[in-house]
């Protein structure tokens, strides 16, 4: 393969990590294709930068409601009192500096036939291709008794930011001996191992600061991501501070009584001193604007281009997608966005996108120095992103603690690397 003359900046650019790697000369304005990206999280910001980096002549607008992005990965450390929230927060200055038009506004509509995105205030943006990276929204109709108002008292903290801090403050105010209760929904939801990492780090906090307290996990499932690894670690680290109640043991929460801060299951009621309700979820709002959501609440996509199966010229990346074997993770979102960006650049140039391969790696921290991982390699098979047989899987059971410590270090390295690629 002759890939001569590729310099580091060009490669960074083609991966979407460019700062100011502008190659080539500007084309005449009328001829330049336009891409609009809605959503400036891991998926959307990656896609915008990857497109601009691969072909600077493409006009790229990134539409985002918030001026500061607060990352969910590692936010469980904030809840556990091991990290400050500002370490999770990133701005869009470097993205603007790379030649992307960052528009701080809320999208209010997508006119697919006219290929325009309407923005609050009455303006609109024209596109040749639209990429929607909306993340998740809470299904406020999904758990009786759990409303937006109740979330101000019983936080979900499944979108990082004020909710993260609220849960942290409640844990700090908890009296030693009080019970923390967390409910976990059925699949699919953002970050499959996330609830169990969070419960671990809350148990870590309780064990060290509120030793008479414990956390109870009420689960709508009988099995979960990295289950054996988590359970092995819980037995060793938190035998008195963490209890998991599976679906088959009556763990499924059917409603919430906000007045008494009680979780109601088919078999009992659990009153919480601190309550963390991880509610059922769906694709984020912008996916609905683009008519890209099916009856499951998520977005079916073509696995080569990430183009919506419902809405032509609209591509969906990240947590909102139905991505076959790929979990809803920041790593997946970043990997999908880079593949989608390459496909969009190809399609705009009249080329046929190549069959992609994608990787996911998700780390979870069971304790600050105890990391575990799950990895997978994926490719499109019969229109579905499918695990490559023989690859992937989780960290070994009964590995030495040094290996867990190594994975904890790699987890932190991953966070630093991905946030630098997307926002740095």
């Amino acid at each position: 393969m002759a890939r001569l003359g590729l310099n580091r900046r060009q490669v960074l650019a083609s991966l979407g990590a460019a700062s100011v790697a502008q190659i080539g000369a500007p084309a005449c304005a009328q001829a330049a294709p336009r891409v609009v990206v809605i959503g400036g999280g891991f998926a959307g910001a990656t896609a915008a930068r990857a497109i601009k980096g691969a072909d600077p002549r493409i006009g790229v607008s990134l539409v985002e409601s918030n001026r500061t992005f607060t990352a969910c990965p590692f936010s469980n450390l904030v809840i556990g009192g091991l990290r400050a929230l500002p370490a999770q927060q990133f701005g869009y200055d470097k993205i603007s500096a790379s030649g992307i038009d960052v528009v701080f506004a809320t999208a209010t509509g997508v006119d697919a036939p006219a290929r325009r995105v309407a923005l609050e205030g009455g303006t609109s943006l024209a596109y040749d291709r639209l990429i929607v990276a909306p993340g998740i929204d809470i299904r406020w109709d999904g758990l009786p008794g759990y409303t937006e108002a109740v979330a101000a008292k019983m936080p979900h903290a499944w979108k990082a930011g004020e909710q993260t801090l609220l849960l942290r403050r409640q844990l700090e105010a908890l009296e030693d001996g009080g019970v923390v209760v967390m409910s976990v929904p059925a699949n699919p939801f953002r970050c499959p191992p996330g609830p169990y990492e969070r419960a671990s780090l809350i148990a870590h906090y309780l064990k060290t600061r509120k030793p008479k307290s414990k956390i109870l996990i009420l689960d709508a499932k009988d099995s979960f991501s990295k289950q054996r690894l988590f359970q092995e670690a819980w037995k060793e680290l938190y035998p008195d501070h963490l209890e998991w109640v599976a679906l088959s043991k009556g763990g499924r929460v059917t409603s919430i009584d906000a007045g008494t801060q009680t979780f109601i299951t088919e078999f009992g009621e659990y009153k919480a001193a601190v309550a963390n309700v991880i509610p059922p979820q769906k694709a984020g709002r912008a996916a609905f604007l683009a008519d890209a959501v099916d009856q499951t609440g998520w977005c079916p996509i073509d696995p080569v281009t990430f183009e919506s199966k419902r809405s032509p010229n609209v591509h969906i990346v990240g947590d909102a997608t139905i991505a076959g074997g790929m979990p809803k993770s920041a790593f997946s979102a970043n990997a999908q966005a880079k593949v989608c960006a390459a496909a969009v650049v190809d399609l705009l140039a009249g080329r046929t996108p190549a069959q992609p391969k994608l990787i996911n790696t998700c780390y979870s921290l069971v304790a600050p120095d105890y990391g575990i991982s799950v990895a997978g390699v994926y490719e499109p098979v019969n229109g579905v992103l499918t695990d490559v047989p023989g690859a992937g899987g989780v960290s070994p059971i009964e590995a030495p603690r040094a290996e867990r410590a190594q994975e904890a270090l790699f987890a932190e390295g991953w966070f630093n690397t991905i946030t630098a690629e997307v926002f740095g």
């Binding site: 890939r3 490669v11 083609s14 190659i23 990857a50």
Partner: protein, 93 residues
């Protein structure tokens, strides 16, 4: 069409096409930082020869080189795919 012709004259699409990563390669930079200033325990892929990168992938795949996660990932790539990824990263100067 006008766009394509103009673009061809500028040789940009050709350059962009050459720079397009082979299957799987774009995922790697999620963990392996391309920027030297990033603080991470994960080794970088740039500044190494294609032969070294390809042989390490094979060593991870066979288990000859012990790893936490790379063995699980390397098993998802054929020798030819790993070679293409190695050459692509080796071209980063």
């Amino acid at each position: 069409m006008r766009f394509l012709v103009l673009a061809a004259m500028l040789l940009v699409p050709a350059a962009a096409a050459r720079a397009e990563p082979p299957p799987g390669a774009s995922s790697c930079s999620g963990c392996h930082a391309l920027r030297p200033e990033v603080v991470t325990a994960v080794p970088g892929l740039t500044g190494r020869s294609a032969a070294e990168l390809a042989s390490q992938m094979q060593a991870f795949k066979s288990g000859q080189r012990p790893s936490t996660v790379m063995g699980r990932i390397a098993k998802g790539f054929s020798e030819a795919e790993a070679q293409a990824i190695a050459e692509w990263y080796a071209a980063v100067k």
